[in-house]
């Protein structure tokens, strides 16, 4: 396959996954937000209490409210704010997902250099998402 055709196929592949994952992320975000502000789910930090704290720097906000940081929010998915963090996190996973789909396609085309770049990018994104580096302050 020549470069132009190969590029077009890769762009289509990436665009298709990006399109679906982004739309899904937005729908999940919207539903989670409505459940949160309509108080269908309880809030970890009560909505009417938030204005007292949101002018604080983040470390003081966490001290004052006991809000979770690191991965601790995963244990709070029964709360509206915890569920919304999951929805926001899903948007942060859209790009790693698309890169993960790209890697086998690049390997199949024996485009080793671009495949190595994609793997390296995936490693950086997953390291950031894991919170292992710089995850807590």
């Amino acid at each position: 396959m020549d470069l132009i055709k190969s590029d077009r196929a890769l762009r289509e592949l990436y665009a298709g996954w990006l399109d679906i994952a982004t739309k899904a992320g937005f729908v999940v975000s919207l539903i989670a937000f409505l459940l949160y502000v309509a108080r269908v789910l309880p809030a970890y930090v009560a909505l009417e209490e938030l204005p007292r704290y949101w002018a604080l720097p983040v470390h003081q906000f966490i001290q004052a409210t006991g809000a979770p940081s690191g991965w601790a929010w995963l244990a709070e998915l029964g709360y509206g704010d915890g569920l919304n963090l999951l929805a926001i996190g899903l948007l942060g996973l859209v790009t790693p997902l698309c890169y993960a789909r790209l890697v086998p396609a690049l390997i199949a085309e024996r485009d080793w250099l671009q495949a190595a770049l994609a793997v390296a990018q995936l490693a950086v994104l997953l390291a950031a998402a894991s919170g292992l580096i710089g995850g807590s302050g």
Binding site: I4, A15, F33, L47, P51, V58, P68, I88, L117, G134
Partner: protein, 288 residues
């Protein structure tokens, strides 16, 4: 309004106001050809009661959401090049991740002052820089190795354009710097991506604009996680902003053909100068 007055405002006013502001920024950003984050962070940081930590976190998600949704049509039209984006995004996302860590450890005053200076500087950059449609260049060795080249069809010019880039090492260094600043301040940094791709690396303007969006979506994905893990993303701030910019960007795209772009461009520069001066005076303690 002082802090006590602001705290007395019912909580639900703020997400509605954020949605409206994000919606307007979404329209203006598309019409002016700038990333929304560069308006969102200084405007929301100056006019809303939230701490800058939360505004920068929301700014990153704002830019991420806008570029994720714009990505598929840009890729399908050949305006965004994966081959060009991949090496630059790798360098940029490592730098952006480091920038986010640094940004969350700096004092608010220093951040406000630096943000003010940066935003005023960017307003001048937008004022002075014009895009260029470059003549064909000879690829350097690294660009040839990475095959940083492509082809796209320009319906306006009714022609298919073959392109390649050069000055790859300088481009990588530029994207390390741009990614770092984006991570520190929660900006998408499209204002800098486009000139770096177009003027420095000689990518055609449309490819530079399209690839810039894709770059932001990759680069901000790494920095966003720093803000998530540090607890610096408040859903009540982030989600209305994301929804507002998504809708606003679509309206902006519809208005693109009938709006005088130079007028909008001047409006953006004025808004940025005002927001930059406001951030600067807050940071210096002159007008808090």
């Amino acid at each position: 309004m002082n802090a006590a007055d602001l705290a007395a405002v019912p909580w639900w006013i703020w997400p509605i106001a954020l949605f409206v502001v994000s919606f307007l920024i979404g329209i203006i950003a598309v019409l002016a050809g700038v990333g929304g984050g560069v308006l969102f962070v200084p405007v929301v940081g100056s006019l809303f009661p939230f701490h800058l930590d939360f505004v920068r976190g929301a700014g990153l998600m704002f830019a991420l959401a806008g570029t994720l949704s714009a990505g598929p049509p840009l890729l399908r039209a050949g305006m965004a090049s994966l081959r060009l984006v991949m090496p630059l995004a790798l360098v940029g996302s490592i730098a952006s991740f480091a920038g986010a860590l640094v940004g969350l450890s700096l004092s608010t005053e220093l951040l406000q002052t630096s943000l003010g200076i940066l935003i005023i500087g960017i307003a001048f950059v937008i004022w002075y820089l014009r895009g260029a449609d470059n003549a064909a260049v000879n690829a350097d060795a690294l660009a040839a190795l990475l095959r940083l080249e492509g082809q796209y069809h320009d319906p306006a010019a009714r022609m298919t354009i073959d392109w390649r880039t050069h000055q790859t090492l300088l481009g990588l260094a530029a994207f390390a710097g741009i990614g770092f600043l984006g991570g520190v301040f929660g900006l998408g940094a499209g204002f800098a991506n486009v000139p770096a791709l177009n003027l420095l690396m000689a990518a055609p303007l449309k490819v530079a604009v399209g690839s810039s969006g894709l770059l932001i979506s990759v680069i901000n994905s790494s920095a966003a996680w720093v803000y998530i893990h540090r607890g610096a993303l408040l859903p009540l701030i982030v989600v209305p902003s994301i929804l507002g910019v998504m809708l606003g960007s679509r309206i902006g795209a519809l208005l693109l053909g009938v709006t005088p772009a130079p007028v909008v461009r001047r409006l953006v520069i004025v808004v940025m100068l005002l927001a930059g001066i406001r951030a600067l005076t807050r940071g210096l303690g002159i007008w808090t």
